[in-house]
């Protein structure tokens, strides 16, 4: 941490105590604080002021890992449907690079097997695979010209999360909590949830903190009553016993604080108080039984199950509790083959809960302060992959794919970007991943060129030297 960081941290800490009345103030620390107000803090999650008035306070990113087929969900291409089964025109293929090149030479155009209709006031085209999301068409802004830079899952995922294809940079959630801290006293500031047959490729690297302090890395919540490592006490450590230990630890720490005057001890006391609260709030958070039957039904959530539906509901519960950033992963979108059977299954798993999340947030008055993003690391080709017939699928495609956003400062009911007749290349309004990141930070009140961290002599950013705020997305 540089000197400036430290000064601003001390500043933050003062702000934290004096102006916000948050955190330690509520903890049984009164006597300590009366004696000595900590001047500097190592509490990395102390809330910090954004650069300017934010539109959103928190972010929920519904990440469809594997590359969902935008051409079968959001991009209606009648010409492609007509050309289906024919060899792709040379003009589309020339100079293009794909994953699994050698296979691509044999492939044909593939129209969408699903029906499209226009929805909402905006008349957005959405296929029959996503009826619930379609019903929300006027709340969401669909981008059909997202562009990525690498057509393999691992680097593309790292890129979509960190702005670099090389592992080791901080993820967007880490940047956000580094910039803003968190308003949750009892839960980590950046949480990840997962459903699907396996974890997303590269796992912790995509929610890591890179060169930022490790406190900013995403904390994966696991299904069940113990979402965080070490949340449950060891056998024989009853709540009463833990409570006795807690009081003794606090008292010994207070004595040492009096002897040394080191503010770190005050922070540690606060950390322990938070930890003990987490032991209760964690299981309470995970327990969906208290949700109304209507809510559970709206999401399709079933208490006790590990599903995308449950995770969407958990995401709402997390941001309700002040968590800054929630990444919800649903895997298994990599449909090189069996598109016709697998894609409807995935859509069936995510359509209702994704839409329910937006609707639920809206009903609770939370949508205007919560940014919801839905998308994957890239899309899929208008050209087939796999063998003809039932097994047919689509290859990875990075030149144009879809992502939608809703809530916190987003102008809903619009479709951004046009692609050519077969949905291969963008025709206008390209949105780079760095632009999406810049826009996300902007909505959170952060200037993406100013949210920097000095590492190896350079001021690094989530957007590297790129990125522009997509004004069209803003309400």
């Amino acid at each position: 941490m540089t000197l400036e960081d430290r000064f601003s941290l001390a500043e933050t800490r003062r702000h934290f105590f004096h102006k916000c009345g948050l955190g330690l103030g509520r903890v049984a620390l009164g006597s300590l604080l009366a004696r000595s107000l900590p001047a500097a803090s190592s509490n990395p999650m102390a809330p910090r002021k954004p650069h300017f008035e934010p539109k959103a306070k928190s972010v929920i990113y519904l990440f469809m890992a594997g590359g969902p087929s935008h051409l079968d969900m959001f991009v209606h291409k009648p010409v492609l449907d007509k050309l289906s089964g024919q060899k792709p025109p040379d003009s589309f293929m020339k100079g293009k690079r794909f994953a699994f090149m050698e296979r691509m030479a044999r492939q044909k155009m593939l129209g969408s097997p699903w029906k499209y209709a226009q929805h909402g006031q905006s008349g957005a085209w959405i296929s029959e695979l996503l009826p619930h999301i379609a019903a929300n068409a006027d709340d969401i802004a669909i981008i059909n010209t997202m562009r990525a830079v690498n057509f393999n899952h691992a680097p593309a995922k790292i890129f979509s999360h960190t702005g670099s294809v090389i592992a080791g940079r901080p993820s967007m959630g880490a940047w956000i909590t580094y910039g803003l801290g968190s308003e949750s006293e009892n839960l980590p500031g950046f949480v990840t949830l997962q459903s699907g047959p396996r974890g997303p490729r590269n796992g912790p690297l995509i929610w890591g903190s890179g060169f930022l302090p490790s406190a900013y890395q995403g904390v994966p919540f696991l299904p069940g009553a113990e979402p965080v490592f070490n949340l449950a006490s060891q056998p024989g450590v009853t709540p009463a016993r833990q409570d006795r230990a807690r009081n003794a630890i606090r008292d010994l720490n207070e004595m040492r604080f009096a002897a040394t005057g080191d503010d770190e001890i005050a922070t540690r006391i606060a950390s322990y108080e938070t930890a003990f609260r987490m032991q209760t709030s964690g299981p309470e958070l995970m327990n969906l039984a208290g949700e109304s039957k209507d809510t559970l039904e709206m999401y399709g959530a079933e208490p006790g199950k590990n599903s995308f539906a449950n995770n969407c509901l958990l995401a709402r519960r997390l941001i309700e509790r002040g968590v800054r950033c929630v990444q919800v992963y649903h895997t298994d979108w990599d449909h090189h083959t069996n598109l016709k059977t697998s894609l409807p299954q995935r859509c069936g798993e995510v359509d209702r809960p994704s839409a329910a999340l937006v609707r639920d947030l809206k009903q609770r008055g939370l949508l205007n302060q919560t940014l919801v993003i839905w998308g994957g690391e890239f899309g899929r080709t208008p050209i087939s992959d796999g063998d003809a017939g039932a097994a047919i699928g689509r290859n990875h495609h990075i030149d144009a794919y879809s992502t939608w956003l809703a809530g916190g400062g987003i102008k809903g009911g619009q479709v951004i970007g046009e692609t050519d007749d077969i949905g291969f290349s963008p025709v206008q309004d390209v949105v780079e991943v760095h632009d999406l990141h810049a826009t996300m930070l902007h909505l959170l009140g952060l200037n993406h060129t100013k949210l920097t961290y000095r590492f190896q002599g350079r001021d690094f950013r989530l957007t590297d030297v790129h990125g522009k705020v997509v004004r069209q997305l803003l309400a």
Binding site: T2, N152, P213, A245, A248, Y272
Partner: protein, 801 residues
């Protein structure tokens, strides 16, 4: 923590001077010379020069300035009203320059006046790169020891520098820390393990002169010194036991870790230590140890993904080696010159690739021999050259078997081709059977990843904008010209680079090295930006002391132990870490070092301290990495599921530095206490203070075992129980006696625990896990386990005071 302030700094650079040769006739260039040029130099030229041209704009010459940039014309001579630069300077434009705060109005008025006079500017500037005058680029000279008033305070030459500054500022140093604090500090700092109560008592009883120096000398001779300081070096070396990437394959390179430990324990001269790590393989007839030492640069990540461009990842590994070399040995952010000339330090884009050229010639197994990869992958999981520790004849026999294996694979390919890709051929089945048998016969040898040159030597081109696909000029190996001369020519190798780095004429190596050692004794380096000694780094708080130590390191024959001894025996180091009210205003950051600092222990040492107190520690040094128990879910997140079978027996209780480090799913107890992620070099650890740390110490299975072990030890060693036992518990955990309130508080806890457990003895059974040894009361053991947990969770336990 957004670096808003920093931007100001960013724009305040000069370093680009302009000598003027001729003025345009009839123009008064005086205003420009006196008023405007200094403004441009100080505020604009860092980015708007002819090389960087941020936003397409250069302000290096009049014609550049008038031509404008990507956003159009900014200066119209004679017409301030049409000159957008004025709006930009006033921050009345969407573009606001300099970023951050606008220049004072008086300065902007000067620019306005100058424009209205027709922007006179002699248009033939000579852009002479000035000889860098930065302090760290000049060789250190040994300063004389400053005079001090309070000479009795001085214990080591270091103290004169510290005290002279304190006296100048009229601040008194702190008193010496209590002896119990001191000895725990020294043990933790020098060996990473707390002292035993007997060692504490021996020190307390030793009132002969030189008692402290004897402790320090003994600790420097302890084999645990090499572990403690070796672990620190491994941070710099980004040491890990796996590749990263989505597969995160395991790798065998722990022998490099052990080489570091041994080298430090034997106090290998630091120049030799550096040389062997950078180029041990290029020494004449290298020994196995010298080859193993080159593991330093093998610690780069290997990210091989199906369908990716291998060259990109090979190049990334080379970038990592260049950047790590710059950071660790030069304290320079050379990585900034990867895409363009360094904006602040005199390292050009070309020079970056000259450094790159030294590492670009290395053998990267997987990258150079794609034919081998997919199949050898299954066989060996190896993507780097190895030193195999087996008799040559055995290796030769194995190579024969591997060759046979490849032949068989090719045979299958051939048959498939014959059959148009169909696999159902009886011949294929037969061959596959043979392959299965063959794989079982192929022996696997103990090995360590090493560096090796690849023939023919790869040529190096500049990558324009850092993009490995945009090749610019070809370059030969070389070093930045502003540092000591590089005698070797175009055919120079890594060995020449290593010799250049350890040349005493190099102004940086010794300074950077002593500064990092200092950093671990005081919590901060004399240069706070330990990885940036360039013009953007912070200046040293005690420049003469830094140089004195740097010269001392070289003149002591590069003995690191000599530097440790100088620091650890100083009065400055021995000061109390108690926060002083009188310094809160004048020096809240403790830059003057009028006291010591309390420092939270490193992740590994948190574990080591608990292992030591509980008596469970297996003190064996080195060997393959081990698998202490960890939460079951810790390995869940990886794409390729890995098993973590907890070690049993002595390996369950090894020091934290021996825990197997998976880059993608590292041991949670290490991560939570800020162990480096090993993706890139780490020259300073963060010290965070979070609730997840509390949860780890309170609830993690490993720490629970330590508490159980601690309780059992206390019961066995203090049969008298009660206060004696509380006292023993304090001595074992924090190396001091408890005071009366602390004892009373723990007695209260103990009484409540025993009460509760007598009512619910089944809770004791659960707490104790396995049945207590014969003669041990289960309730007693369980109650003391809780007390042990409490002590392990105190701030003092995980802090070196």
């Amino acid at each position: 923590m957004q670096s808003v302030n920093r931007h100001k700094k960013l724009w305040l650079l000069s370093g680009v001077g302009m000598a003027l040769t001729a003025a345009l006739p009839g123009q008064d260039t005086d205003l420009y010379e006196r008023e405007v040029r200094p403004l441009i130099e100080a505020n604009c030229l860092g980015c708007h020069n002819q090389k960087i041209r941020m936003s397409g704009l250069s302000l290096a010459t009049r014609s550049d300035a008038i031509a404008g940039g990507k956003r159009g014309v900014v200066i119209t001579p004679g017409k301030p009203g049409e000159s957008r630069i004025l709006q930009v300077l006033r921050h009345d434009d969407p573009v606001k320059m300099p970023p951050g705060r606008a220049l004072p109005a008086a300065d902007i008025a000067k620019v306005e006046r100058w424009i209205s006079q027709g922007a006179p500017w002699p248009d033939q500037p000579v852009r002479a790169a000035p000889k860098p005058n930065h302090w760290s680029f000049k060789p250190p000279r040994r300063p004389s020891l400053p005079a001090v008033e309070n000479a009795t305070w001085v214990q080591s030459p270091i103290d004169r520098f510290i005290l002279a500054r304190l006296e100048k500022e009229k601040v008194a140093p702190s008193e010496e820390a209590p002896k119990t604090t001191l000895i725990r500090r020294a043990y933790l700092d020098l060996t990473g393990l707390p002292p035993s109560p007997a060692e504490v008592r021996a020190f307390l009883a030793d009132d002969k002169p030189g008692a402290w120096e004897r402790v320090v000398d003994r600790l420097l001779e302890s084999p645990h010194y090499g572990e403690r300081w070796g672990r620190r070096w491994l941070d710099y070396a980004r040491y890990a036991d796996s590749d990263a990437g989505s597969r995160d394959e395991p790798r065998q390179i722990w022998r490099y870790r052990d080489w570091v430990i041994n080298a430090l324990n034997s106090d290998m001269p630091f120049d030799r230590f550096v040389l062997e790590q950078l180029a041990g393989d290029l020494l004449p007839n290298p020994t196995n140890d010298q080859l193993i030492a080159t593991g330093f640069h093998r610690n780069s990540m290997i990210q091989i993904e199906a369908g990716t461009d291998r060259e990109q990842y090979r190049v990334e590994a080379v970038f990592d080696r260049v950047d790590t070399t710059g950071t660790v040995f030069l304290g320079l952010s050379v990585g900034c010159a990867r895409c363009h000339d360094h904006k602040f330090d005199p390292i050009s884009h070309r020079e970056y690739y000259q450094l790159f050229a030294f590492f670009n010639t290395a053998d990267e197994w997987g990258n150079d021999r794609p034919r081998y990869d997919a199949r050898i992958h299954n066989l060996h999981q190896v993507h780097a050259p190895l030193l195999e520790l087996a008799p040559p004849a055995e290796i030769k026999r194995r190579d024969g078997l591997v060759e046979r294996y490849y032949k068989l694979g090719e045979e299958i390919d051939r048959i498939k081709e014959e059959n148009n890709g169909k696999k159902d051929d009886p011949r294929i089945k037969e061959i596959e059977e043979e392959i299965k048998k063959l794989i079982k016969q192929i022996p696997r040898f103990e090995s360590s990843m090493i560096m090796r040159e690849w023939e023919p030597r790869r040529e190096t081109n500049i990558f324009l904008g850092g993009d490995f696909l945009s090749k610019g000029d070809r370059v030969d190996p070389g070093t930045p010209s502003f540092l000591n001369p590089f005698p070797a020519g175009a055919g120079a190798t890594r060995l020449d680079l290593a010799r250049w780095i350890v040349d005493p004429a190099n102004p940086l190596l010794a300074r950077v090295t002593v500064n990092r050692i200092w950093q671990d004794y005081f919590g901060r380096g004399l240069v706070e930006t330990e990885n940036d000694f360039g013009t953007q780094g912070s200046p040293p708080t005690h420049p003469e002391l830094l140089d004195w130590l740097a010269v001392e390191l070289v003149e002591s024959g590069w003995s690191q132990k000599a530097i440790h001894r100088l620091i650890a025996t100083s009065a400055a180091y021995r000061q109390s870490s108690k926060v002083r009210d009188d310094l809160k205003e004048s020096d809240p950051g403790n830059y003057l070092l009028a006291r010591q600092s309390r420092l939270r222990l490193d992740a590994e040492i948190v574990r080591d301290a608990a292992l030591t107190a509980s008596g469970l520690l297996t003190a064996r040094i080195g060997g393959p990495s081990v698998y202490p128990p960890q939460p079951d879910a810790a390995m869940q997140a990886s794409q390729v599921k890995k098993s973590w079978k907890a070690s049993t027996g002595p390996d369950r209780y090894r020091r934290g530095m021996y825990t197997f480090f998976w880059r993608v799913t590292p041991n949670p107890a290490l991560v939570v206490f800020d162990a480096p992620n090993t993706m890139t070099t780490c020259t300073r650890r963060t010290r965070s203070n979070t609730p997840l740390q509390a949860l780890a110490l309170l609830n993690e299975v490993a720490f629970h075992e330590f508490a159980q072990g601690f309780a059992a030890r206390l019961l066995a060693e203090t049969p008298e129980g009660g206060e004696q036992r509380i006292r023993r518990a304090f001595e074992l955990s924090v190396s001091r006696e408890p005071n009366a309130p602390e004892t009373a508080r723990l007695r209260e806890l103990l009484a409540a625990e025993i009460d509760a457990l007598r009512t619910h003895p089944e809770e004791a059974t659960k707490l104790n896990g396995p049945a207590p040894p014969h003669g041990v009361d289960a309730v007693d053991l369980a109650a003391w386990t809780t007390l042990s947990r409490v002590l392990f969770n105190t701030d003092e336990f995980i802090t070196r005071e």
